[in-house]
């Protein structure tokens, strides 16, 4: 087995109501140092983690939403969003942040790694992962 594993971080929780979203984000940031093949999967209330426009100025909570925009720099190659979860919440891709990605060695660039996927793709992507963090 090679040292590089396919990691998937599964996010199914809304931000702010509980600390899970924020502390799960910390795992991704730290995990970047280990150079694994990393993707993020947002489904159920986890899709709310990628909605843009969060303003915590009156709630006195740390606004960690801008950090998601930097995940491309932390080795995250794909940020998947479950289509059914998004639609059930009346959201579209326009409501979500955009996250750019660049490979500094090959200079390959992707404008936005936030990708909406259907149920079959979600199941397949999860099955193909070697480790799922929840």
């Amino acid at each position: 087995m090679s040292d590089v594993k396919k990691f998937m971080y599964l996010n199914r929780r809304a931000p702010y109501g509980t600390i899970y979203a924020w502390e799960s984000l910390e795992v991704i940031l730290i995990g970047a140092a280990f150079d694994q093949e990393v993707s993020l999967m947002c489904m159920d209330d986890g899709v709310y983690q990628l909605v843009k426009g969060s303003d915590t100025s009156q709630s006195d909570m740390k606004n960690f939403m801008p950090t998601y925009r930097t995940l491309g720099d932390y080795g995250v190659r794909h940020m998947y969003v479950d289509k059914a979860s998004l639609e059930a919440r009346g959201l579209t891709q326009d409501d979500l942040i955009e996250v750019a990605w660049e490979d500094f060695e090959t200079e390959e660039e992707v404008d936005n790694i936030v990708e909406i996927v259907d149920a079959d793709q979600v199941a397949k992507l999860m099955a193909e992962s070697e480790v799922v963090f929840s």
């Binding site: 199914r12 489904m43 159920d44 199941a123 397949k124 999860m126 099955a127 799922v132």
Partner: protein, 102 residues
């Protein structure tokens, strides 16, 4: 390739069981534990969904959690296999990975 999916929520409280069923591949195993074992009981609104899932997936329930919740074996949906913690460990070993639907 097969995975073990663990579900620890009552299906009447959260959609974890429904989601685990919908987003798992044929040939997967689903282990119900903690409040998840309520999903293994006969005669509930969830029974049909669980039976449908058993068409191409295997469903297990953790014995100690069934017992604590007064769910006798004759109340468990036919075909759901009851396992103890040693059986849980065996399922982890028999599958490629474990995915927890928390």
């Amino acid at each position: 390739m097969a995975d073990l999916h663990t579900v620890n929520k009552s299906p009447f409280e959260k959609n974890s069981l429904e989601t685990a069923i919908r987003y798992s591949m044929a040939g997967s195993s689903i282990l119900l534990l903690e409040d998840g074992v309520y999903g293994a009981t006969k005669g509930t609104a969830m029974e049909g969904m669980v039976k449908d899932a058993m068409g191409d997936k295997k469903v297990y329930a953790l014995r100690s959690d069934l017992m604590a919740r007064a769910i006798k074996e004759d109340r468990v949906i036919d075909g759901v296999e009851i396992v103890d913690y040693a059986g849980f460990v065996d399922l982890v070993e028999a599958n490629d990975k474990v995915q927890a639907w928390l």
